[in-house]
Point group: C2
């Protein structure tokens, strides 16, 4: 090493990303496992794809803002233009297309990938996040939409959330298109501009919204019609002959099924829901947090009937949602529902002195064989220091064998919570530990 002062590298993670230290990692894993358990209870199968995909996958369907401003992309050493996946849907569409004739339908798949977007880091938005993706392919009817919405609700329930905590806002792209094209009489370009304005509405001031729709070519009468449309409730929508379209029928069927399924309390019609991504074609929905300090959309999804079409001549419809870990953690945090996770260490085997390491390794092996998460002291330091470490690791019990215990074929067990201590015959060690862990006392 040189005599000069070394220049040290920064220990900060790359901007907009997180280091998951063990405490945070346990929370993340517990949250993902909760999601996984619910989705698997619906018979969904987990898949995964590569972190890098060809650039064209996103250029084709993901929308201009994402590709031009947020996508991480570069040329690999072989001159291939690749991108770090910003969303999972193009990957799953590619995988479905590749085996479109072999996969039994419907295809019920989920994944929990990490995704990358070049974002200005802010609350709820980071450059790297994880996202549960749940999709059904190959069902045209709204029963698939119903199942997808039910899964989203069951996941929220599994986190302990109830109908006062969140609400699912549901709309339908076909209904919106029918309104913009056939009732307002807009051309495709104007309709697209209005869609983008509606999608931004909740994030911008009312004046800015009005400016956007006027710029899209709406007259003041059309602006009023749009305002009226966005505030319609289900009864009025269904009752008005003007609005009748495939989308209306789907919405009516979906809500009557939500009702029969006891899920209607969680849901509301909201015709201002668009979803940013351009590939949605039918049902669209967003889940809103109802907590006063976090009133915003948590996540959403919908039906996309032609996404696989960029890879295959055979059409197959899809419906699904994506649920990001950052927004879910914000939700759980504001509702005080971050899951409690167990301590990583149950049993700590202390070291009497250096000559007893073989013995302590052997004790630890016995504990592990019984399924106890057990660690050993690796260097000989004072017992007081060892107890401090055991405590810092959350160990419930410390095991120690010194010369007296060994000559009597015994072991001493200390319960950290109360400092109770017993010396028991070796053959009772596991039984005693298990009872202590289970009942909090030695019976």
């Amino acid at each position: 090493m040189s005599a000069e002062k070394k220049e040290l590298l920064s220990t900060a993670p790359y901007r907009g990303t997180r280091d998951f230290y063990p405490d945070d990692m346990r929370t993340r894993i517990t949250i993902f496992n909760t999601m996984r358990r619910v989705v698997q209870s619906f018979g969904f199968e987990e898949y995964d794809g590569p972190m890098l995909e060809r650039f064209e996958l996103y250029a084709a369907k993901s929308g201009d803002e994402l590709v031009n401003e947020q996508l991480y992309h570069f040329e690999d050493r072989g001159g291939r233009h690749v991108a770090i996946r910003p969303e999972m849907t193009p990957t799953v569409a590619r995988m479905v297309a590749a085996r479109i004739n072999q996969l039994p339908r419907p295809i019920r798949w989920f994944s929990i990938p990490n995704l990358w977007r070049y974002e200005k880091p802010q609350r709820g938005r980071l450059r790297e996040h994880w996202q549960l993706n749940v999709d059904i392919f190959g069902v045209d009817g709204i029963m698939a939409d119903l199942e997808i919405i039910e899964i989203a609700i069951r996941i929220m329930e599994a986190f302990g959330a109830g109908k006062d905590d969140f609400k699912i806002h549901i709309s339908n792209r076909k209904m919106l298109n029918h309104f913009l094209r056939n009732i307002l009489g807009l051309d495709q370009s104007s309709a697209g501009q209005v869609c983008r304005a509606i999608d931004k509405k909740s994030k911008i001031p009312p004046d800015a919204f009005l400016e956007m729709v006027i710029a899209a070519g709406l007259s003041s009468r059309q602006c009023d019609q749009l305002e009226h449309f966005m505030n319609l409730n289900l009864q009025t929508l269904i009752a008005c002959p003007d609005y009748i379209s495939d989308g209306t029928q789907d919405l009516a069927d979906l809500f009557s099924n939500l009702n029969r399924s006891g899920l209607a309390d969680y849901c509301t019609l909201d015709l201002s829901i668009v979803r940013g991504l351009e590939y949605y074609t039918g049902t669209v929905f967003e889940m809103y947090d109802l907590h006063p300090q976090n009133k915003r959309a948590l996540f959403g999804g919908g039906r996309y009937d032609n996404l696989v079409g960029i890879f295959s001549d055979q059409p197959i419809s899809g419906v699904g949602f994506g649920m990001g870990d950052v927004t879910v953690q914000d939700f759980l945090s504001v509702h005080d529902r971050i899951p409690v996770t167990p301590a990583p260490v149950q049993v700590f085997v202390a070291l009497y002195d250096k000559d007893y390491t073989g013995q302590s390794f052997q004790l630890a092996r016995l504990c592990r064989k019984s399924g106890l998460r057990t660690c050993t002291q690796l260097d000989a330091v004072k017992l007081g220091k060892q107890f401090k470490l055991a405590d810092a690791l959350g160990a419930a019990i410390v095991v120690l064998q010194g010369p007296d215990e060994i000559s009597n074929n015994q072991v001493t067990l200390k319960r950290m919570a109360t400092s109770d201590q017993v010396t028991v015959p070796m053959e009772d060690m596991i039984l005693t530990i298990n009872r202590w862990l289970e009942f909090g006392q030695i019976p």
Copy 2:
């Protein structure tokens, strides 16, 4: 859609990467969970870091071949030079350094990240792979090395492998350095060249190896000495006064502890083990497959006493290993030990006809509440087709409620393996399914 034939995008994943369809994903998850269970039984805690890191992290320590030929790196939109992580050790070293004064020691951490290298895809090597990383920080003595090696062995045992299936080859960098510098009398540059030659030895013809060490400046007498050294066994090594060094003592202690721990059968001294990465400083080891069709190093690790030093003035030693999913799967495959995974669907709720969807959703909910992985038929097709789907999904039991069952408050259950069928009262449904799943028959 235009009248011309659309140009379809390829469905192939990016070169050197894998799509994980559900069957492959179940295997991957089962393998990772086996690793996780073993490592956690030693009290290790899981962590994770971001996929992208600053380029300097790898430039500092990872070795020239990796950085110049294999690293994926590029400039982000803000002009930052970033890299996709090719290995996890720099990330974990950065994380440890960032909290070096808060973390209780020893730090026992593991992670299962995906890693990227621009490789020419071939057996055992892909551009994206996953790797279990297990590390202990903050213990200078070889008891940490012993624990790390024991964990590697216990993982192999958890996969069902025994001492005839694999062998751990162990050496020590301090020993090797002592031999090259003090016994052969080489300067640092020559010693480095010889190290690289030894590291490549098993992959190149004997002549090519000889050429490399001669190019490094070795005389023919030195070549003989090197050959002799690499073939030493433990007894000879320990007995010869010339070889005495810190490394010899560590090796002797490690093997005597392996012996006392009953792990010696799995291990052998092999002074030709170097490990490519430049940061190893003490114990190094590689695990070899003993199967005649797969005789090669599966994975390895060792002690690196100054890696955290690129981030922090406070020294902390580390010892660990990395175990890649591709090589592990090759090992399990050639030993016929790929784990069997359970079917994703246990219960399939058939649909009598369209008007019964609410009913079938309700039955499915009952099953899920009892922890059964259950899916429903979403569109009304002939029952024969539904049974085929249930079979394709691996469902053990099909549940059906038609008009007769409903009017009698009953349900019909069909066991797919035998085509047995019973109609039972609704309140017996779950009990009957569980018994069928557990005992293979209705008692």
